[in-house]
Symmetry: C2
Subunit: 152 residues, 2 copies
């Protein structure tokens, strides 16, 4: 799909605030409501805009303990990888999981309540997964930046 500067601007604005009305957007973009509406629908249909979500304040919901966990598998067969990835997807504490280059196979971003909850998560969930070789946890001391906004 092709898009121009106006589409980029729309995506920027919607990444900042998805609750803006098309009327507000039309004023900012100096376009008609219909034009903005059609462009947004096109971006949604084409899949560029994947979803609209509410982002929560991690502190206020007491889920502020972020851990990066590097995971190494015991073997690296297709079946092992597929099974591990299927299992890890089910863990709601794991917000992100990436297959990566380097010393470890995967990086997991895990969000729990506190160290106790993390211990519980490791003992009862992560380390019970099949094919887990070793893990290495890096704990967040402070969040400097956390954004979903991709500059286009």
């Amino acid at each position: 799909m092709e898009w121009d500067e106006i589409d980029k601007k729309i995506l920027t604005l919607l990444q900042q605030d998805a609750k803006q009305t098309t009327k507000e957007l039309s004023l900012k973009l100096h376009l008609s409501v219909t034009a903005v509406y059609e462009r947004i629908k096109k971006l949604e249909r084409s899949g560029v805009i994947e979803q609209y979500v509410a982002l929560l304040n991690k502190q206020k919901i007491e889920r502020n303990f972020v851990v990066f966990c590097h995971v190494k598998l015991t073997t690296h067969s297709k079946e092992t990888i597929v099974e591990f990835e299927k299992d890890v997807k089910k863990l709601h504490e794991v917000l992100e999981c990436y297959h990566v280059s380097g010393d470890y196979d995967y990086i997991l971003k895990i969000l729990v309540q506190n160290m106790e909850a993390y211990r519980e998560f490791m003992v009862t969930k992560l380390t019970t997964l099949k094919h887990i070789g070793s893990t290495h946890s890096i704990f967040m001391i402070g969040e400097v930046k956390n954004s979903t906004h991709i500059l286009i």
Copy 2:
């Protein structure tokens, strides 16, 4: 702020799809439109709901090259830390930055177009920041999971 099971359910639903109308939510929750409306407003006012955003498909906007960069600073004075954090926040390629425990001081999640763009980013942006000691890049081979949904 205190909240009950209904509030939790609302937060879950809005984290999945923020474009649902209060009417749709009221049907799912077996409540009146007004009741749902008031609860959402309370969650917004209290700051539990931080913002509503559009999430984009990274592949379709050709910004699919994810790198985790571990950064070590040269010194660790208050001024050094404050300045580094201020500078790194300005880099739009850095979506996330965490001060962490362990061998490195910071973990950065960086999103760029490709390896070439990453090289350019490193040479012209990240390594030009003051107080940068060493860096270690881990490249994403595949995305297994990437969610903003926090289970409450």
